[in-house]
């Protein structure tokens, strides 16, 4: 699409389009998450990979649209289903794959695994194996930003299951009270573990901010541009000092809660119907309709990304295990405040 067409598109309604770099980057990262997760699933089911893992396949547009709307210094907190958030925030395949294989060059040196991937240097404050674990950390990160006087905002990813945790209500109250720069982005994938949202959750999710004066928006979580725009709007509000926003991104996980489980709680027909709304072909169709990329261009991205994922597996398999003698390292920091007399 020409710059002129971009401008025209940008003037359509209030759909603010990101730059071409961002548009292409979002495509590459969505494909990256998909291929990374498919490979992880394959390797996990083949019992080559230790631990447990939760697939983000189907939800790529939420992580990618959300992170693309942030500035480089901004922060995210994540969930047990966190691979997509990490990739969207820029954590590389080799560090992630090595972590999943429990190897020394992993993002957390093999201490964390799938549910604890973090890269503080990139503002990725950690996947979190506790549902709702990100709420307090996000509120605290935003509190620190307010005190330290920087403009960093924190995007808190969480699931529809977590919205019923006390921490959600506690943190939305506190961040609204102090107008902290936080965005609460709920990935409503319709299931809390194996239980459908209808069985656990009263009322409309987007209304949950209303009593606290926090605006709630509901978006199609399989539309990466819709997520991007919603997060941009919320980010602008946060940076103006107006406090948190709540965004409900409706999406669907194509696989089960954790890789390897039986999925008796939903029908194949439901899944097939949902797969028709796969966020990646949808976005590719849009990119192609806008003339930004053609089918061959898309295929090239898939090829490149798939090769990178394969290389990351080779890297992880060849990497060293952590030394058992270091198993107790990093439990405690040995550093102290600069003013300490010790």
């Amino acid at each position: 699409m020409s710059q002129g067409a971009m401008k025209e598109a940008a003037q359509e309604g209030d759909r603010r389009l990101p730059s071409l770099d961002v548009l292409f980057g979002m495509h590459r990262r969505m494909v990256g998450i998909r291929q990374f997760e498919e490979r992880v699933r394959t390797d996990y089911l083949a019992r080559r990979m230790p631990g447990f893992t939760h697939s983000y396949v189907g939800e790529e547009a939420v992580a990618v649209g959300g992170c693309a709307a942030l500035e480089p210094g901004d922060l995210i907190t994540s969930t047990h289903r966190g691979h997509g958030h990490a990739i969207a925030k820029g954590v590389g395949f080799p560090a992630m794959m090595a972590e999943l294989y429990g190897k020394l060059p992993g993002a957390c040196a093999g201490r964390g695994g799938s549910m604890h991937i973090a890269d503080f240097s990139l503002g990725m404050l950690g996947a979190n194996g506790i549902v709702g674990g990100g709420f307090g950390l996000a509120a605290g990160a935003a509190l620190a930003a307010q005190f330290l006087g920087n403009r960093d905002l924190t995007l808190c990813f969480f699931g529809d299951g977590a919205i019923n945790k006390g921490q959600f209500h506690e943190s939305i109250n506190f961040t609204a009270l102090r107008r902290l720069p936080v965005i609460f982005l709920c990935e409503n994938n319709q299931f809390a573990q194996y239980t459908a949202i209808e069985r656990t959750t009263a009322g409309a999710l987007a209304d949950r901010g209303t009593p606290f004066g926090v605006p709630g928006a509901e978006v199609d979580g399989n539309d990466v541009l819709a997520v991007y725009q919603a997060v941009r709007t919320a980010a602008d509000r946060a940076r103006r000092g107006e406090g948190p926003s709540l965004i409900i991104a409706n999406t669907y996980r194509f696989y089960g809660h954790n890789v390897g489980e039986a999925v008796p709680y939903r029908s194949e027909a439901d899944v097939a119907e949902r797969r028709k709304r796969d966020p990646i072909p949808r976005y590719e169709a849009w990119l192609q309709a806008e003339g930004l990329i053609d089918a061959a261009g898309c295929a090239g991205v898939w090829e490149e990304v798939t090769r990178e994922v394969d290389e990351s597996v080779a890297f992880a398999l060849a990497a060293a295990d952590p030394d058992p003698a270091t198993a107790m390292d990093d439990l405690y920091a040995s550093t102290r405040a600069a003013w300490s007399t010790q």
Binding site: G129, G140, S171, Y332, W339, T341
Partner: protein, 332 residues
Amino acid sequence: MPYLSMGQATNDAMRVAMRLDPTIIVMGLDIRWGGSFGQFRGLYDEFGERVIDMPISEELIVGAAAGAASRGLRTVVSMSFVEFSMGAMDELVNQAAKLRYMFGGQAKVPMVLRCADGTIRSAAAQHSESFEAIFAHVPGLKVVAPSNAYDAKGLLIAAIADDNPVIYLENKKIQPTKAEVPEGLYEVPLGKAAIRREGSDVTIVAYSIQAVNAAQAADELAKEGISAEVIDLRTIVPLDIDTVLKSVAKTKRAVVAHEAWTFGGFGAELAAQIQEALFSELNAPVMRVGARHSHIPFAPALERAIVPATEEIVAAARRAVALSGQTMQRAS
């Protein structure tokens, strides 16, 4: 040198640290009004917005304190009564204690959780307990339990300067006790026990209020000709086991004492470590003094029936000495 209560000493510690370090913030309910025990009195007047009144949202308070600490602040949190911290155990155990380790050393979490523990004036089951064993059981946390005003200030400053989450336990009953407390900055290092009194017949290992009671017990025991060495651990994580073992190797007998439940208590850990290291040198089993395994009742007569004081420490030391006499007779 100022003569301060423990509450005044910790208040002084907060001022000293906060003047040195603008990244220290204080979070808790009623902080601006001084806290439940006056331990934060006047801080808002001096430090303004760095002193934050929090909603009664324990999970958020601890989760946000950990999050802020991981992002460059030093956070001091008031949980008021230690029982209230149970509402924040998810954030404390699953987040604050684990962030550093599970992220491969990327994060540090310099936060202090101040909690008042122990019995006082029939506060009953939900305002009287001591949970140090619960905290000590969790890797990644440090646990501090001072017994006097000098240590209270020095340990609190050391805890604030520490780059790890520290549980700072303030026994309610001994808060008014006064001692000479130096002005300005000094630290009592975490993980260093103090030998309060030297003795040769039995070592009493204690902390917090039971360290105070142990000193009184040693006076009683001296009247009976039993020479007790009193060790005040001051911090239970990190544990200064070397000082304990050195003393017990000399006295051959040990009594471990705390106000928390004996059953599953920290004294059990001490007893186990002592016997593992010194089994063949002990003249008596390691004696434990603690609360009976019940909730703390309201009626004063019942409360004393559950919670130990000086008398129980004296009795345990006597028993250790008496048992070792029997042991020696059997051996001979």
